[in-house]
Symmetry: C2
Subunit: 282 residues, 2 copies
């Protein structure tokens, strides 16, 4: 579990707290993207569900303890919506990065309305239409993982194609989970290359296809982790498959993105851009 | 695809832009949690990968166009790391919420080092150990979805148990994807209740078990969507299964959380809290 705070990290420069009255995901995601701008190591502590005064005082104690241990001010990223909780946590000895106050107050001015000061997201999310669509998309993507089913591909928003281990599965799941996109995925295998044709189940949905490619040496590396020394993982075979898959995509006019050195977040965002520009009508 | 901007939304109050030189996920996640504090409707436009001056000027044009159409200042959440891109986008007629500048500059002061001003996250993420562990966790969670495999459960960080449709699958995948937690999941079925015993494959791993429960009427609703009118989805059967599952969890001392009205983000964060407090040694 890479995200848990390492208990005995010795060369840590600072402790960073992510304090939230919800899941803490926003504070953490945002905090990470700020902290990666600094070439320092941070010890991270996540404090979610700080939604009572007692828990806020507990948070203050934890932050102050870290200050004592480190001898340096901890950095505190917080998304506490309720002003009274935020006021308590700000009394700690940490350096406070209050995401809500910093932006909500200017927005109240701009929009000419008061904020509801409720933890909107956490209370409403599970009932929202968006959320239901996300869950439905996850189920869809799972049922259509790795070409498992040709049924109901008509309902897919996108169908990822590519050779085995090119990143299709995690990307499909990410598209579903983050954006509610029904993403099927379908492998391209040596049989397809020999026949020189797309798998027949995909032909009716050519416009939904989106190719993932990958550098052959990177593919060999990934495959070797799974099946060391196999023909499947050999550099020659990886070169062959990638080459054939790219040829097929070009011939069929399938848009394609390379997954090499890209995270699933980046691949998903690129695919989404493409789908969006298809649909854009304003 | 719920997150795409609705093209013909008439009663929209404002246009909101999420501008980033990376995927835009941070800007969007953060922007959403701020905007849910306001009971207004927003039209959302995502502008990821704005990483050249040309694209920055394009963004300015899009923002200014929205201003013309709406007659109101668009709200712009941006995470542009490079100062020259940020400077360009700030020239637009939008109201600017610059996440990087607002927080990075005070942090440079506090930490006594200059930020690298690189898009650290996007360039490094795919090579980082954290990322590899996340991908590995996704593969693990998929292979251990719905009790598919008893093999290698020893490597699981957590094993979710609960009746069919209690939310195990999306929660496992979310734990894997977001936190790199190897989360298996295993259904509790009427056979288990009749025998009055946990599935035998789980017994060696009792400490890793984490129960998901759900209100019977909510479960009936969810199951009815999948198999309308079935015995499986009937209120009596759902009451029976939930009741038996909860009894079993109590008897076996399995920690349990209700998934009713909770999002997978919230359930995952709660489970993580529990795992973390097990491991906490500092």
């Amino acid at each position: 579990m890479p995200s848990l705070p390492p208990p005995f990290q010795t060369s840590t420069d600072r402790t960073v707290f992510f304090v939230s009255d919800g899941t803490g995901i926003t504070a953490e995601t945002f905090g990470h993207s700020v902290l990666t701008q600094f070439e320092l190591r941070f010890k991270e502590v996540r404090l979610p569900f700080v939604d009572t005064l007692d828990k806020a005082y507990d948070a203050v104690r934890e932050i102050n303890d870290a200050y004592e241990v480190d001898g340096k001010r901890p950095i505190v990223f917080s998304t506490l919506v309720k002003a009274e909780l935020s006021t308590v946590v700000r009394q700690s000895k940490g350096m406070h990065m209050d995401l809500i106050q910093t932006f909500v107050e200017p927005l109240e001015q701009e929009l000419g309305v008061k904020s509801t000061h409720t933890i909107g997201r956490s209370h409403n999310i599970a009932d929202s239409e968006d959320y239901k669509q996300r869950i439905e998309a996850i189920n869809f993507s799972l049922a259509h993982d790795d070409g498992q089913s040709n049924q109901n591909l008509v309902a897919a928003d996108v169908i990822l194609v590519g050779v085995s281990r090119s990143g299709k599965t995690p990307t499909s799941l990410y598209l579903a989970m983050q954006y509610g996109v029904k993403a099927a995925n379908y492998p391209l295998i040596p049989d397809d290359f020999e026949r020189g044709k797309l798998p027949s189940g995909l032909i009716p949905y050519k416009k939904k296809l989106f190719g993932l490619s990958i550098a052959p040496d990177r593919l060999a590396e990934v495959r070797n982790e799974r099946r060391p020394g196999s023909k499947y993982a050999s550099p020659e075979n990886c070169r062959y498959e990638v080459n054939e898959a790219e040829k097929m995509m070009r011939r069929e006019g399938i848009r394609c993105v390379s997954s090499t050195a890209k995270s699933i977040e980046e691949i998903a965002a690129m695919i989404l851009q493409e789908i969006k520009s298809d649909k854009r009508s304003y």
